[in-house]
């Protein structure tokens, strides 16, 4: 308990703008990731792109937690992020399974292949 609090307190004491840096990163990751979801063709990359979008979102949440830290950082966004990571991984694993299955059955690796094939 002391560990977490001390750390949080220390962080709070030191930096006022840390969270701003990470918020900026968050917005960049979100945008790049979203662009990647739509623009990347390969299933593999699309899935990675969703993960990057997720990272952007989580980074914002954690930044907010850091911003709102008192004796310790706001635990609610942390909990949200942990939950979110699990959910995102589940979805990504499912997507990956689907992509592999498609690849195995049809040797397609992107939706455009599908369009070209049909």
């Amino acid at each position: 308990m002391e560990w977490g609090r001390a750390k949080a307190g220390a962080v709070r004491g030191r930096t006022m703008e840390t969270h701003f840096i990470y918020m900026a990163v968050s917005s960049a990751l979100f945008s790049v990731g979203m662009a990647g979801v739509f623009l990347c063709r390969h299933f593999f990359k699309k899935i990675i792109a969703t993960k990057i979008v997720g990272a952007g979102v989580f980074l914002l949440l954690v930044s907010i937690a850091e911003r709102d830290a008192d004796t310790f950082a706001d635990p609610v966004p942390h909990a949200m992020v942990i939950t979110g990571i699990v959910v995102a991984v589940s979805a990504a694993a499912f997507a990956l399974a689907l992509a592999r299955r498609i690849r195995i059955e049809t040797s397609r690796a992107s939706f455009e292949d599908e369009e070209a094939a049909e």
Binding site: M1, G4, K7, R14, T15, E17, F20, I21, Y22, A24, V25, A28, L29, F30, V32, G33, M34, A35, G36, L39, C40, R41, H42, F44, K45, I48, K51, I52, A55, L59, S63, I64, A65, R67, D68, A69, F72, P75, V76, H78, A79, V81, I82, T83, I85, V86, V87, A88, V89, S90, A91, A93, F94, L96, A97, L98, R100, R101, I104, A109
Partner: protein
């Protein structure tokens, strides 16, 4: 803001963005995967910088670790190379230049707007104070655990549910429920095998420690579960085939027990007049511990199953090819 700290944050930020972009436009999938795993690890550092050790653990374990393994594992099937940047931006130079500019500008513009929104975000204040005030009644000492397993246990329960759903979904994707035993014997090399013999018990111990730690310190069911899963995956790679050798009954209960027990716990005090997910204050601590143990088991098993099933999909594919 001290200069070294600021410099570190700035470097991390830059690295994150570069790795993210790299992960998307690297010429080969392998490079993508590597960039992505690096990205995940870098992100863990960022979490740590943001005073979020729980998240850092979870991210390192799940986001980078497990998903990295899954990605690398999938590369077998996608070995014929991926698309590079030209797939996104177009092949011939003028088009590529143009679309590169447009896409970059668009993305930047959106990022700018989003960043502005964050910059102008009012101070909502968060729930830190409230959490702290309620912590004594939660049965645990670590606030994140308190939120996860008490205040917002409903979400957590659903989230464990998501894992079960994802398992089912992956079964759907694979087209069969359960795990296939590969026909040929395990093709592991002795180095990994001996390493696994060494690491696996250690990792189970680490998992148990993390779980126990979670009550008061960063750590907890998810992290512990992931470490457990890591142990399982290493054993699997070593050719142990634990899951395949479990009886259907066993792995199913293993997968479901966390969710099921959580649910049972949530309703079991309702006859006493308490609400859904409401525990008697005195019992909260032990009960949460039990939930965590079972959840750890389920999570670890589920994640291992993900991997095992992925492996099996490839195996079934190779079987088909040989036929």
């Amino acid at each position: 803001m001290s200069l070294p700290a600021g410099l570190l944050d700035g470097l991390l930020a830059l690295l994150l963005v570069i790795l993210a972009v790299r992960a998307l436009i690297a010429p080969t999938l392998y490079q993508c995967a590597v960039a992505f795993i690096s990205f995940g690890l870098t992100l863990s550092l960022a979490w740590a910088r943001l005073a979020a050790p729980d998240v850092a653990l979870a991210e390192a374990a799940i986001g980078a670790g497990l998903l990295g393994v899954l990605l690398i594992n999938s590369l077998r099937d996608f070995s014929r190379g991926g698309d590079d940047a030209s797939a996104i931006f177009g092949k011939d130079l003028p088009t590529a230049l143009f679309s590169r500019t447009v896409i970059s500008c668009g993305t930047l513009a959106f990022a700018a707007v989003l960043g502005m929104a964050m910059f102008h975000m009012p101070e909502g204040g968060g729930l830190t104070a409230l959490t702290e005030a309620s912590l004594p009644h939660s049965g645990v000492e670590h606030p994140v655990t308190a939120v996860l397993l008490n205040y917002r246990s409903y979400d957590t329960w659903l989230e464990i549910g998501v894992l079960v759903v994802a398992m089912l979904a992956i079964f759907c994707a694979g087209g069969f429920e359960g795990f296939r035993r590969p026909e040929q014997g395990p093709d592991s090399d002795p180095v990994i095998e001996s390493l696994a013999r060494l690491l696996a018990p250690l990792m189970v111990m680490v998992a148990g420690y993390l779980l126990w730690l979670g009550k008061a310190y960063p750590g907890g069911a998810f992290q512990a579960g992931v470490v457990l899963a890591a142990a399982g995956i290493i054993l699997q790679l070593a050719g142990w085939q634990i899951i395949e050798n479990l009886s259907t009954w066993a792995w199913k209960w293993g997968l479901g027990i966390g969710f099921f027990f959580f649910l049972a716990l949530a309703v079991s005090f309702m006859p006493l007049g308490l609400g859904f997910f409401e525990y008697p204050e005195a019992w909260a601590g032990p009960l949460i511990l039990v939930v965590e143990v079972l959840a750890t088991l389920s999570i670890g098993l589920t994640l291992t199953c993900f991997f095992v099933y992925f492996n099996g999909m490839g195996a079934s594919e190779s079987r088909r090819r040989t036929r």
